[in-house]
Assembly symmetry: C2
């Protein structure tokens, strides 16, 4: 707020931030926004040529704020603004805040969609508005021409101009620019746009790219390197819009399907790490080409890049041998945020492009979990939130603004269908949804690639094309949960052989029984071993969650987010019926599938989020489940469906759960112990 | 000084710094030195294993300081010190300051030659002791082992150890170390030595190299890239000693003998700059190999590098096209100090090695002149010093602690023998010293490669091997000065044809006369044109100096330093007889031939000197001689020998100068004007 302002001066309210202040008549609106800390973009520094500082005046009486705002409370179009509106498009009602001045009370809307390049369209998927404060700032300056009386170098005069017009002092200059600075200055006739990278406000600003004349765009990529899929978003750093997205299977799959097999590959092949690092770099360069082709963006205009991934993906991306993550004490080479150069990581971007990687939380809780935490923000809430990313190792984060704790739990690959007799990856022909009639014990199901449910007309014809080839992760959760709800399996996970009398779907299979889910060209059965595998996996997950709840001293969570690919597809209700997660109001259990990618985008568009997640990760208390004495007890209790000791009252309101019985505790405990030891050795 | 210290506490004086303070008995001597700001090296951080912190106790009564110092005033050998003395050599009288404590009054000598590697010997040439405060610090630390309860990464725990033991916070880590940090930590069994680069105390420290266990050495190179010769010194950053030096002809000579022909080459060949940049990088890598081979040092142990050179060498080294330096306004791409990476400049050193280049003063006054200024320190003196580096463009610096001014003057290549009929480069067979008998007008001379003077026994036999092939720069200065002193040429530079009657050495040569300097297999004559060429060159130089003296409002300089290769070989007396430089006490005129190289070494060994020269260069007032109205007048006056208007009373005390006559002013002025215009166009 203007220090000279008095109560008689106009009152200005900026939306959506809600910041307000009084300013003398004649104050420039951009200047007023800056004084209030409202982020309004500007590349040209108020020369009225970039058009980035557009705002909209809200007309009308805003009684709540005591403001009557009108277009007449702003100065008329000046020369700069007229020139801009003639040369470029300035939508009706839009003004350039660098030119318009305050002449009365105002409600000023700072639109979040200011785009000056017509070809760039917003992606439909991009629904979340992220407040911007990027690490890259595009700064147009007019540089003094060389003067024999003051023989300062061209670069030195450019630095002076950046200090004079933009307040940057003590600028670091990337070596690659030195040979180019003279040509660019002359090409731009002493007017250039400097790309300044400043991740931390306390760090020295770095000049990383330089363009002749006005360069009115700059881009960044945010990337989630998953063990299965790599996803990339291309965003404008000046408008915040996501303008292209692409994904690809992680090519490291050819070295090993899951994380641990990739670590084994590295341990057994001298060049294994290098080969996998190259593979991921190549895949990333392919995605860069793809998003650039889709949007017509030049890759050298991508000036910032943010990456997240689980610890093993994180290490392989950075060229670090992940062997240490394969065994206790699971030492990360680096856990803090990593600042690097795209060129050092072989990424085909601008020479000066910087790379930021979010911190890892622990040896099995990676930068992807940190990004999901940043996105979902348990640390910003009063409610206690549980965030779970289910994979071979589940990453678990639990807490609220008071305290956040995290752990990983060795669930193994069962949820991904790997230890299930009829399991398969989520692809065409896989059963993904299942319902079982508790009276007839007959199932109906949905198959990936087929629109109709199996009891609907047209299913058979469509399914002929895809085949019905197996059951994917979400299908396994549903079929076992439905078997439990239908009374086919007991609370302790035993398939009830006595039902064979009632239904041909229950068949004897050696000393145990199986359930025939599909009997077509292939026969898909859920065996007793399949049920056990899911029990073991979900018990490990739940035990990890319980340890964190113990640490927090809580018996109930307010909110649950299921992250990752698996989390996107499972039905929260069935996850809870099986007891993967603790009891919770079902309306507050949600898939947050792309939380890691969104967290990466947040860190790309706003450096403040980088500091936020760094501080949060430092403060997060890490629990090593393997070292907790109560893990075993929680594990044994969690073998039961949904749980031997924990009640699920919220779930019971939505689903009719079978009555409780005595669990086969000894059996479950023995199995649990064997399982855990086996898993830990392989991890 | 210990804050708790009282007047009763022991008084400790450190030499050679002369800093003193009182400390409580039992205070560690290293700690006392640090408190007083006395630089004492230590790699192991006081563990008594590196031996770098050696000091010597001076015994006796130091009345001036009121101290009686004795070995008994220091604690007896402790366990650490005994162990070190047993394992390694600890010279008689030496103590480890990290172990010995103060027990009484002491005079402590901090030796400047502490070396712990026997194979490293001091170069004889290295006579100047440079106070050390290098940008590289070697820091031994013991890092906590990984702990599953606190899953901080290995690198993160290393950073914590560096903060705990060495006070470095917020460390930047070079990307190339990330893949190696885990192996190095394990190889060193959690003890490692980190190389920390911190050029400015306010900058974030950077971890640039990491070694398992104790790494008790680190090296740096200082390099002067001359247009003719490239010289490199390899120094220990831990002892300050120069341990190897090497030089090589600048391979760019094949693209052009002098600077301007190299700029022309770039302008005419699209790949010219790249070819010359590669040539100098290759030459530097050859020198690196050479100094490393000579000293047995691994190139990857060279962690810091300082370069100086004239503006065109500076630009070509950095990969910058020097075309802009070829014409007005002679715009430097960058004038300030440059911080870069050796790997970006294709130097085969450690991945993390940093490069520092001193600032340039102006478009024709380069980083070499800045380094010479740093070395000779006019800005540190009360006396007014003139520093001249004679080349195709002379670089001139003049001033004292009050004010320093600088300029370049277009002397052309005459001093290098290029426009002289019998001129040649300083090589075997070149006449380098000349004396002329004023009675007989007979010369005697010395020839490079021949020990005897030409009138001494054995000359003929030796000269048969080398031949007498031409006259090099210093020889030309001497022969023309001697011709002037012998009355062969007049004050205005005309060879006196009337002397042909007295001596056969004076011969008619068209409308003018020549002097026969040598008449053997080849005949070497000094023609009237040769004399004119030297007059024009020296007049340009002197006029530049006079402009700076005008700016300083002085008529006399206290001290003159002649820098560069030319400056190393010319006799100051003859330079003054010809009037290249103004009158000065001859005892205070000295060759400072290697001042630029020494300045580079100073910046290598002490980052404080980097700040000193940066501040000095910023403060230096630059005069563009081409724009000064008085240049022409000074030039015309300086055509006379030694000068038409300026007196040389100091010189006259040492040398009998011919009586003054009327100069041929009109002729000289016309020549000067033509010359200047011609030169500037080519520059």
């Amino acid at each position: 707020m203007d220090q000279k302002a008095s109560e008689k001066d106009p009152l200005v309210l900026f939306m959506p931030s809600g910041r307000r202040g009084r300013f003398e008549k004649g104050t420039n609106i951009l200047e007023a926004a800056r004084q209030l800390g409202v982020y309004v973009e500007s590349v040209c520094g108020g020369r009225g040529i970039c058009g980035r500082c557009q705002i909209e005046i809200q007309e009308g009486s805003f009684a709540k704020h005591g403001i009557t705002s009108a277009n007449e409370h702003v100065s008329a179009f000046g020369a700069k603004e007229k020139r801009y509106a003639e040369k470029r498009e300035l939508k009706d009602g839009r003004r350039l805040s660098c030119s318009a001045t305050i002449e009365g009370d105002l409600v000023v809307d700072v639109p979040q969609d200011v785009q000056v390049n017509a070809q760039i369209v917003r992606k439909a998927a991009d629904t979340r508005l992220i407040e911007r404060n990027p690490a890259i700032q595009m700064c147009y300056v007019e540089v003094d021409e060389p003067d024999m009386h003051k023989p300062l170098g061209d670069l030195d005069r450019l630095k002076l101009a950046l200090e004079r017009d933009w307040g940057f002092s003590d600028i670091i200059v990337d070596q690659h620019l030195l040979p180019r600075v003279q040509k660019i200055l002359r090409e731009g006739e002493w007017a250039v746009t400097a790309a300044i990278h400043q991740d931390m406000e306390t760090a020295r600003p770095a000049l990383i790219a330089l363009y002749p004349g006005l360069k009115n765009e700059a881009y960044g990529i945010a990337c989630d390197i998953g063990s299965t899929t790599i996803a990339m978003h291309l965003s404008s750093l000046l408008s915040g819009l996501t303008i292209a997205s692409a994904g690809v299977s992680n090519p490291q799959i050819r070295f090993g399907e899951d994380l641990m097999s990739r670590v084994s590959y590295v341990m057994m092949h001298p060049d294994g790490q290098e080969a996998m690092t190259n593979a991921v770099h190549n895949a990333l360069n392919g995605l860069i080409e793809e998003v650039c082709a889709e949007s017509g963006v030049d890759p050298t205009d991508i000036l910032d890049a943010v990456f997240v991934g689980n610890p093993i993906m994180h290490h392989l991306f950075l060229g670090i041998d992940p062997t240490e993550l394969g065994g206790a004490p699971f030492a990360l080479a680096v856990s803090g945020a990593v600042h690097s150069w795209a060129s050092d990581l072989n990424l085909a971007l601008n020479h000066g492009t910087r790379v930021y990687m979010l911190p890892c939380i622990a040896g099995h809780v990676g930068a992807d979990a940190a990004a999901a935490t940043l996105c979902e923000g348990p640390h910003r809430q009063d409610e206690i939130m549980l965030l779970v990313d289910v994979g071979t190792n589940a990453e678990i984060v639990l807490g609220n603004r008071e305290r956040v704790v995290a752990a990983s739990s060795p669930t193994g690959p069962a949820f991904e269908g790997a230890e299930i007799s009829c399991g398969q990856r989520a692809a065409s022909g896989a059963i993904e949804r299942v319902r079982i009639d508790p009276q007839t014990l007959e199932p109906r199901m949905r198959v990936i690639g087929v629109d109709a449910w199996s009891d609907e007309p047209g299913f058979a014809a469509q399914a002929e094309k895809t085949g019905v080839t197996g059951v994917c992760g979400s299908g396994i959760i549903e079929v076992i949960a439905e078997m439990f709800l239908a009374g086919i399996i007991s609370e302790d996970g035993v398939i009830d052989g006595s039902l064979a009398d009632r239904s041909g779907r229950i068949i004897k299979d050696g000393r145990t029984f199986s359930y025939v889910l599909w009997d077509g060209d292939t026969r898909l059965t859920i065996t007793q071993n399949d049920v056990r595998a899911i029990q073991l996996a979900k018990a490990a997950l739940y035990a990890g969650i319980k340890l964190l709840m113990d640490k927090q001293d809580i018996a109930h969570v307010d909110r649950i987010g299921l992250a990752g690919a698996f989390g996107s597809f499972i039905d929260p209700k069935y996850a809870m019926v099986l007891g993967l997660v603790p009891d919770c109001d079902l309306d507050k259990v949600k898939s947050v599938g792309n939380a890691a990618g969104t967290g990466a985008r947040m860190a790309l568009l706003n450096r403040g989020y980088r500091r936020e997640i760094e501080e949060t990760v430092t403060a997060i208390e890490k629990i090593e489940t393997a070292l907790e004495p109560k893990f075993q007890e929680h594990f044994v209790n969690a073998m039961a469906l949904p749980n031997k000791v924990d009640a699920f009252p919220e779930l019971a309101r939505a689903v009719k759960l079978p009555a409780k019985a005595e669990p086969a505790a000894a059996d479950a405990a023995a199995g649990g112990r064997r399982r855990r030891e086996g898993r830990r050795r392989r991890t």
